[in-house]
């Protein structure tokens, strides 16, 4: 293979991000190798979304450097940045499909970076792209919904369409920002499994943020914990148990409020686990 396999696909060095007086990220160092599946774990407000947005150049760091696929994002011109973004796909908690467009056209928007000029309407896309889009829809099990409006689908179905849109980019990196936080437990499990399968089949590098510990365990290769915009945990997921993660979390929690938040999350996780056990 070529030189990109040697250097990591993502390298953050000393990244800090301030929004006014709020420090969303502070001194983050993170390296992700090609093909790794990384879970970003953290409570709400810990900076997960902000970190992911840095990896796609949607935010630029206040300090430090973000290197993605061998390019230093803060130094890029707008059109170069777009070229990097085309190789990095992102899926969102709220799916972010265009509600009034058909499912197929939504998937096709994933290919816009490869096309010149704006497109509107299915006829504006070349046939082989349409075939590719339908193939991706088939892969996520949404082929027969291709011509329905996106807003007529359930949440789980919309997230599958969003995954197909991401695949349309033929990405090297897949970023997912709490992809199942708006879904019911059953669709959550399906969507998480789908992402994992696709990552394995296509050899994608995945960075996925979650705030549920139980979903994270046994899903990723590696768990990175964020707290107040700092990396407080970075460990292989292999053989890690829930109580171990919570213990680490508990040790790094400095205030009682944080501890109780973690405890209630643990309770929720256990409750959810029992609920899914009950279904089985």
């Amino acid at each position: 293979m070529n030189s990109t396999t040697i250097s990591p696909v993502i390298r953050l060095s000393g990244v800090s991000k301030d929004f006014g007086s709020t420090r969303a990220l502070s001194g983050v160092d993170l390296t992700v190798e090609r093909g790794e599946v990384v879970v970003l774990l953290g409570l709400s407000g810990s900076g997960k979304s902000t970190l992911l947005r840095h990896l796609d150049g949607l935010e630029l760091p206040t300090r430090g450097d973000v290197e993605v696929l061998g390019r230093s994002l803060p130094k890029l011109k707008a059109h170069e940045l777009r070229r990097v973004r085309a190789r990095v796909a992102m899926i969102f908690q709220q799916f972010e499909l265009v509600p009034s467009l058909t499912v197929l056209e939504n998937v096709l928007t994933g290919a816009l970076a490869r096309l010149k000029g704006p497109r509107l309407g299915l006829w504006a896309y070349p046939k082989q792209l349409k075939l590719a889009a339908l193939t991706h829809l088939d892969r996520v099990g949404m082929l027969e919904k291709a011509y329905e409006r996106a807003d007529q689908l359930s949440g789980g179905q919309q997230q599958r369409v969003a995954i197909a849109r991401a695949l349309m980019q033929s990405p090297e990196i897949l970023l997912a920002d709490e992809p199942v936080a708006s879904l019911d437990p059953e669709s959550s499990a399906q969507v998480m499994r789908l992402i994992r399968e696709i990552a394995a089949d296509d050899g994608l590098t995945v960075v996925c943020s979650l705030h549920q510990v139980d979903l994270a365990l046994g899903w990723g290769d590696r768990i990175v914990g964020l707290r107040h915009g700092e990396v407080v945990l970075d460990t292989p997921a292999m053989g890690l148990s829930k109580s171990q993660v919570m213990e680490i979390y508990g040790r790094v929690a400095t205030s009682t409020a944080e501890l109780s938040a973690i405890e209630s999350e643990l309770r929720d996780a256990e409750f959810a686990a029992q609920a899914t056990d009950g279904i089985r």
């Binding site: 070229r83 082929l143 919904k145 011509y147 409006r149």
Partner: protein
């Protein structure tokens, strides 16, 4: 035992309580606002009294009207062929003008919307384009560009509507963009899309329904106002009406007939456009016209049905390449085709002849508006004329306010003594709104031979329809807790109205009245053009001569400043009386 006993001895006597009670707080800003309001009310009363609505004057106009009606021929219409060609031209001008304005409004709205503007300093530019185009009356534009086109040509009309309508359309387009969901746009940006792709794939599909609804709404407004364009020599029904009214007494029957045609056309097309807005787009028609109301009443409680697509047989990627002709797709396609057909038809109906256009006049016409000047007049002349126009606007607003307080209150469910009364007054308000006030004004001006009085009556008439409805709605929206509390305490209907409904409805009443003054100033300017009074008189004179266009700029700037001042006061009042 009485209530006083319960309070106990420590409560003290009544005087004691009065002495200990806090002084009534009255912030200075509120006091200022009250003073301004009272001043405006006094100004309105004074304006009304200045316009000489004396008994003798009313009698003499009544006599003129009687004479006119007794001597004019029977109401008649032009021959069917003429009539259809006139209708076609008016329809075509309004369609093409509105379409042009909508297309130009897209880039203007992109500049003005906070989330699409390329640079923050361009936002005020986009807004300014909207404010200026809205402030220049379409008639003035049509007059100003009449030199460039042959008399009776539709082009100045298309031009005028196309520029004037940008103000409202671009404002509403920009609002729609700002209200759209940012997420899909960011998703396209995250996938490497360009700015243009972000807009056309992520924003445009979201805002399109609301944009079409806005364009259709503006189409209705432009149609109602199109009669006035005839005064600038723009062909169509308005011009035919003007020509007819110029022939006394033989033409009056025809003029009246044409006025009726315009009225019917307004109502019919408003019904059509509201139906489209409702059925195609799921946007409730919110307009003030008769058609909007009928559609709203007819479609009440009928939610738009959701549709599902279930492909038959086996699905595979290659078969799915062909999009099935579902009901949704058939519907969308036929609407698109109909829309295109209407535009093409409008093009042919107006019979635009570009060879008649004197292109060499276009740049000179545009240049001629700068710099603003006073010509042979003094600023005092213009100020005096502006004052007359403002007087007409305020006087009409006062008349509307008085009548619509009565009508609007009785049309409010929580005020009217019975459902029957409420419905009766709702219908009365609908009728008031149905009449295009500008057509009414032309008619009154023609018949009575009076300028300002006729203008005030016509504006007041239209204003009752608008303000009455707004009052009724705002009274109905008042939280009904206080009313129920007073009813429980044994208050009468009238006491409840004054003590609970009024205080709660007052802020929106003030805001709506000022809004009426604002629209009245624009309308009074236009009426002055027809009736030859106020600032409209100078506008007519100056806009037809290329070398006098500097005066047009001065006059329009004066109108802009006045309207902005009223809008500013309205915004301040809304804040203070919230």
């Amino acid at each position: 035992m009485t209530a006083l006993d319960v309070a106990g001895p420590s409560a003290g006597s009544a005087e004691d309580v009065a002495a200990r009670a806090p002084r009534r707080a009255f912030p200075a800003e509120r006091a200022c606002a009250v003073v301004v309001l009272v001043a405006m009310l006094i100004f309105s009363v004074w304006s009304l009294s200045m316009l000489d609505f004396s008994w003798g004057n009313i009698q003499s106009s009544w006599n003129i009207a009687v004479k006119v009606f007794s001597r004019m021929g029977p109401i008649s219409l032009p021959g069917p062929e003429d009539l259809f060609s006139l209708i076609g031209i008016t329809f075509g001008i309004v369609v093409l003008g509105t379409l042009a304005a909508s297309l130009i409004s897209i880039p203007v709205a992109l500049l003005a919307a906070a989330n699409t503007t390329p640079a923050p300093w361009l936002r005020p530019v986009g807004r300014a384009i909207g404010v200026i185009t809205r402030a220049v009356p379409d008639v003035v534009l049509a007059l100003a560009f009449s030199l460039t086109f042959a008399l009776g040509s539709p082009l100045p009309g298309i031009f005028a509507l196309g520029i004037h309508s940008i103000g409202m359309i671009s404002k509403l387009f920009a609002d729609a963009i700002e209200n759209s969901d940012d997420g899909p746009r960011l998703a396209i940006r995250a996938a490497g899309g360009s700015r243009a792709q972000e807009f056309w794939s992520g924003v445009f599909p979201q805002v399109l329904p609301s944009w079409i609804a806005t364009a259709l709404h503006r189409f209705d407004i432009n149609l109602r106002g199109s009669a006035i364009l005839g005064y600038a020599g723009v062909g169509g029904l308005g011009y035919a009406m003007k020509v007819a009214f110029a022939e006394f007494p033989t033409g009056y029957g025809r003029g009246l007939g044409i006025a009726c045609v315009i009225f019917v056309m307004c109502v019919v097309l408003e019904i059509v456009s509201s139906t489209i807005r409702r059925n195609l787009l799921g946007v409730q028609p919110l307009g003030r016209g008769l058609g909007d109301r009928i559609v709203r009443a007819a479609t009440k409680n009928r939610p738009a049905p959701a549709q599902r697509v279930a492909p038959r047989g086996e699905v595979d990627v290659h078969r799915m390449l062909r999009r099935p002709w579902t009901r949704d797709r058939v519907r969308d396609t036929s609407w698109t085709a109909t829309g295109l057909l209407v535009v093409v038809a409008a093009w042919f109906l107006t019979d635009i002849d570009f060879s008649q256009v004197q292109w060499q006049f276009v740049p000179r016409t545009i240049e001629s508006f700068w710099p603003p000047d006073l010509g042979s007049y003094s600023f005092a002349d213009f100020a005096q004329a502006m004052l007359v126009t403002i007087q007409v606007a305020f006087a009409a607003a006062l008349l509307s306010l008085v009548f619509s307080l009565v009508f609007g209150s009785l049309a409010a469910r929580n005020v009217a003594p019975s459902g029957g009364v409420r419905n009766t007054f709702r219908v009365i308000l609908v009728i008031f709104r149905g009449v295009p006030e500008l057509v009414l004004a032309i008619f009154l001006i023609m018949v009575t031979g009076l300028g300002n009085q006729a203008g005030v009556v016509a504006l007041a008439f239209g204003g009752i329809g608008l303000l009455g409805k707004l009052i009724a709605d705002s009274f109905e929206e008042v939280p009904n807790g206080p009313e129920r509390a007073l009813t429980a305490a044994g208050a009468s209907r009238a006491q409840r109205y004054l003590a609970a409904t009024w205080p709660q409805g007052l802020p929106s009443l003030i805001g709506n009245s000022l809004y009426l003054v604002d629209t009245n100033i624009r309308s009074a300017t236009i009426l002055g053009i027809v009736g030859g009074s106020g600032i409209g008189f100078y506008l007519t004179n100056a806009s037809t001569v290329l070398t006098l266009h500097g005066q047009v700029t001065t006059l329009v700037l004066m109108v802009i400043v006045t309207v902005l001042a009223v809008e500013g006061v309205a915004a301040w009042m809304r804040r203070v009386f919230r």
